[in-house]
Symmetry: C2
Subunit: 298 residues, 2 copies
Amino acid sequence: MENNQFKQACLNNIISDHQSGSAEIALVALQALADYSQLSVATEPTTYLKDLNAFAVDLQQTRPSMAILTNIIDAWLQEVNKNENKNPQSNLVTLKQVALGKANDLMVQSSQANDRIVQHVCGLIADNSVVLTHSISSTIINCFTKLTKKKISAIITESRPGNEGLLVAEMLSKSGIETQYITDAQLGLFMPKADVVLLGADSILADGSVVNKAGTYLTALAAHDVGIPFYICAENFKQSRKTSETIHLEEMDGDEINLPYMPHIAARNIYFDITPPRLISGWINEDGVQPLIGSPSI
Amino acid sequence: MENNQFKQACLNNIISDHQSGSAEIALVALQALADYSQLSVATEPTTYLKDLNAFAVDLQQTRPSMAILTNIIDAWLQEVNKNENKNPQSNLVTLKQVALGKANDLMVQSSQANDRIVQHVCGLIADNSVVLTHSISSTIINCFTKLTKKKISAIITESRPGNEGLLVAEMLSKSGIETQYITDAQLGLFMPKADVVLLGADSILADGSVVNKAGTYLTALAAHDVGIPFYICAENFKQSRKTSETIHLEEMDGDEINLPYMPHIAARNIYFDITPPRLISGWINEDGVQPLIGSPSI
């Protein structure tokens, strides 16, 4: 019963977190798996694995638009279940060690991937650049922190309805980065003031399209129209086998939009949009700047 | 003294009105001139005209981005001053009649122009169309009201920071029009669900560009990218002699953005953006659908 409460608390935590980027949420899910791998009350390998597998799938299903959540948990499941297949006699103690160890390994791997992305971004951005971003991404926050040496300034959006731009503003303020904070609607107006656009992503789709917070497509359109380079920063774990035709975009509660009840009027609150590769200058992953399938450079 | 209070109240009313469209504000200014033309305590024609001229110029300067305010008051001033030039002996009673009469005439003229625009729009929109708009425009509201017969539905934006989308929602709700209410950031995401985009304008510039509420440029970019017709509805009085190079875009108080104080972070709140004619399918004025200077069809 206590275990069920722990699992439900982990699931609710992720479901109700509308401000963290998907890389952060993946780390939270891995930590939940690491903790639960030691908490499970199963007394023999088969039921232990069944218990872990069920929780892992539940975690994946909390945020279906986030490819990294699916992929990183799949990588964890593969290792945990593979070990069982290879060593059918493996005891519970070994299994618990493997489950915990793999979760920790993946957390380190994701963290290192983000560090390498930040290095590639820093190599790309000139001194005194004005960097524009939309919504929040832990990778982009890390980039800004490292870029303070280059005396960059920032243009950031409030990012309705979650207003995660406020969190970005707090972090840039602490880093002493001169920042212009705008409504999402001013993105086009401020684009000519930017030198480069850097955004995170929730998923890199199989057709080269990018799923990210609603407004990303508008940002890319404006950057393309004004002629400003537009980069997506995302680790390889964010690649999805889905395409822009098959991806499901999460819709959240319309109440977040603060629309009072009126007959005939429905508040819509789809969190993510899809940006086609033709509008994206490059995808920066842990290996460097990559062209996207379908982008002009391929 | 009472007169000064009246004038100041009229000016403040317009300065602080961040929700009405420019055609509505022009009507409010004309009504102020009509009322003041009868209130002025000037006792002879020269001081009376001087008094009216000064108030008219003050009204024009309340909202420099709104061409209709400049133009409609210029038209009023021309008539009022012309009468004095032609009839230097004209007495105060005649002048007061001319000033009141011309203000009323211009209000009727603007109202009739809007009626004709609505007729042209109704001729253009097919039954069961999904019409997308951004921000508020009295002309567009009138179009929606007339279009209920055609069983249209609507997609509207909240339009931060003024949230004038709430007013649009209230009016569409009363008209029984099925409406999807979205954040500004979802404009690109919802564009493929629209059949046509209708927006008002604050100014039609001499180079064919259109000044309207921030976000209009993003809306036009998305409509152009998706291939949805994008029309600007605006009476001839909204034409400006300024160009996108010479126009000044009003910036309002950053406090409207609700950003708490943080060092290094500045809230920016420019109300208007500029949409180039290459993104606009047509300008609907009282004479019908017009191509804009610089648009693909010219």
